[in-house]
């Protein structure tokens, strides 16, 4: 599966030749099937389906190949590098105009989340202490709150 080489021009291994031979054998096989289709339209449909099946098989083979994975990686890396450059340029342009950029709002979001974590941790510790005190007084335990973010929500 991983031996897809677009530069391989050997008749037996050339991907296109393999695809073409497979395609023609399947299409002609479907056209001259022993269980002959009742109508010409049905025959054409069978041939078309054979074509699609063969095409799909070879697409799948190509999409798994090292050649495609290499192209995928390179194109992703390039696209991300370009987008990063663009982000940096836009940030710089906005800062030059004394305007906030996305990186600034991201920083604020991170500070808020960190603050929220610290408050929740604090509440968690306090809850555990209260729980401990209640247990000591009444001998029963209540569920201590956990330090997870629990959005409150609005019943409709």
């Amino acid at each position: 599966m991983g031996n897809y080489d677009a530069n391989d021009r050997g008749a037996a291994n050339d991907p296109f030749s393999r695809f073409w031979l497979d395609l023609m054998s399947k299409m002609s096989g479907s056209a001259f099937a022993t269980t002959a289709a009742p109508t010409q339209e049905e025959t054409m449909k069978r041939m078309r389906q054979a074509f699609f099946d063969s095409w799909a098989t070879h697409c799948d083979e190509f999409l798994r190949s090292d050649a495609f994975l290499d192209v995928l990686k390179k194109s992703m890396d390039s696209a991300l590098a370009f987008k990063q450059e663009l982000n940096e340029f836009l940030t710089k342009a906005l800062h030059e105009q004394q305007m906030p950029a996305r990186s600034d709002t991201d920083s604020i979001m991170l500070v808020l989340r960190s603050l929220e974590d610290r408050v929740l941790d604090r509440i968690d510790r306090l809850s555990q202490r209260v729980d401990g005190l209640e247990t000591a007084v009444s001998g029963t335990s209540t569920d201590a709150a956990t330090g997870k973010r629990r959005p409150k929500g609005v019943p409709q």
Binding site: A36, T39, T43, W55, K73, L80, K83, K148, Q156
Partner: protein, 366 residues
């Protein structure tokens, strides 16, 4: 004369046949305005529902019907973060939700909403220990039950499994539908593309913030390019005079093109910890500092997989049954595709009634 042609020269057409094909083409073209009218009027969602709870962008939908409620144990449907959840209630006759509603289950659906740029830092902890836990508590409160049933689809199934492992006391029954839990098989296509050596998810999220909807949709389409980009339109052309087909086709297209981004940090953690490092099935995944131990799941399990699923092959889901601590566990490998499990005619006729039976046996009656 014509009858002998197909078996010898099927590609040779007689003048009569050419004329017939031409007339067929003209008929179809004449039908275009009607097809566009159907596309314009297409409606998604088959079962009436109300949003009974909201938090941030999330909505909890409660389905209602004239059918008397027969089971007190409610069912919560948890869909993936990648697309919209109405695929489970697409159209009359193609609605998973309607099966449960019509059998008398109090049925809820969790709509995660569309994350904005500001939601990029929402992570697994926020979604599972935050949103999902809040919604489960809300469903428990509204139904007056200590435990609920959960049906998780695709990524929503993985998240439901994680949640159940962390809160086994709140879940009475767990149904997973095409839900990946074990990514050790690296031969399937998505695993190859998301391999750490190819796909730098850290950089993607750093640069884009959220996982872009177009990237996700493009990747899913590229998994089966001939089917999604060629065959589908041939099928459309051939059936464009069939109004029922057009309604289903456009409803499906509406859903397929209604893609949403995934919150960046959540996507990064899911890809990295689950798809690349496969921590969930190994019992090494931590959420909020707590280990997600699937052995703690002891409730009845129904694991539904699809034989022709190119997105989540059955081998990604089936190991779940061996990883849990439940003694009551069952799996059904149904002949359908990933989406066909929800909207396929056969699945709606054969699979979902039996899933309702399974759930009814394990739910408390009113």
């Amino acid at each position: 004369m014509n009858a002998t042609f197909p078996s010898f020269t099927p590609w040779m057409t007689t003048p009569d046949q050419m004329q017939e094909q031409w007339m067929g083409f003209v008929r179809k073209m004449a039908h275009w305005p009607k097809a566009l009218e159907v596309a314009r009027k297409v409606r998604v969602g088959a079962t009436p529902s109300d949003a009974v709870f909201r938090v941030d962008r999330l909505r909890l939908l409660r389905y209602f019907t004239d059918v008397e409620q027969r089971y007190s144990t409610p069912l919560l449907v948890v869909f993936a973060l990648v697309n919209r959840p109405y695929i489970l209630d697409l159209r009359p006759g193609k609605s998973v939700v309607s099966h449960f509603v019509n059998r008398g289950f109090g049925t809820y659906n969790l709509d995660w909403g569309i994350p904005s740029d500001g939601d990029r830092f929402l992570n697994m902890q926020d979604y599972i220990e935050g949103y999902l836990d809040t919604v489960v508590d809300q469903v428990r409160k509204r139904s007056g039950c200590d435990q609920i049933s959960i049906l998780g689809y695709c990524m929503g199934g993985s998240m439901s499994a994680m949640y159940t492992a962390l809160h086994p006391d709140k879940v009475k029954n767990l149904i997973l539908l095409a839900a990946p839990v074990d990514w050790s098989n690296r031969e399937y296509l998505l695993a190859k593309w998301t391999d750490a050596s190819i796909f730098d998810v850290d950089k993607l999220i750093h640069v884009y913030g959220n996982a872009p909807a177009d990237l996700l949709q493009g990747s899913f389409q590229l998994l089966k390019p001939v089917s999604t980009m060629v065959e589908k339109y041939f099928s459309f052309y051939e059936n464009m005079e069939d109004e029922k087909f057009l309604e289903d086709f456009f409803a499906m297209e509406t859903w397929l093109n209604d893609n949403i981004p995934v919150a960046g940090e959540m996507f990064r953690q899911f890809v990295k910890y689950c798809m690349q490092q496969n921590l969930l099935i190994q019992g090494k995944l931590r959420i909020n500092g707590r280990l997600v131990d699937l052995r703690k799941i002891t409730c009845p399990i129904l694991n539904l997989t699809a034989t022709q699923d190119h997105l989540v092959p059955a081998e990604l889901s089936l190991p779940f049954n061996d990883a849990v601590g439940s003694s009551d566990r069952k799996s059904i490998n149904f002949p359908a595709g990933h989406i066909g499990m929800a909207v396929g005619t056969k699945a709606n006729r054969e699979l979902w009634p039996s899933v309702c039976d399974w759930l009814a046996e394990r739910s408390d009656a009113v």
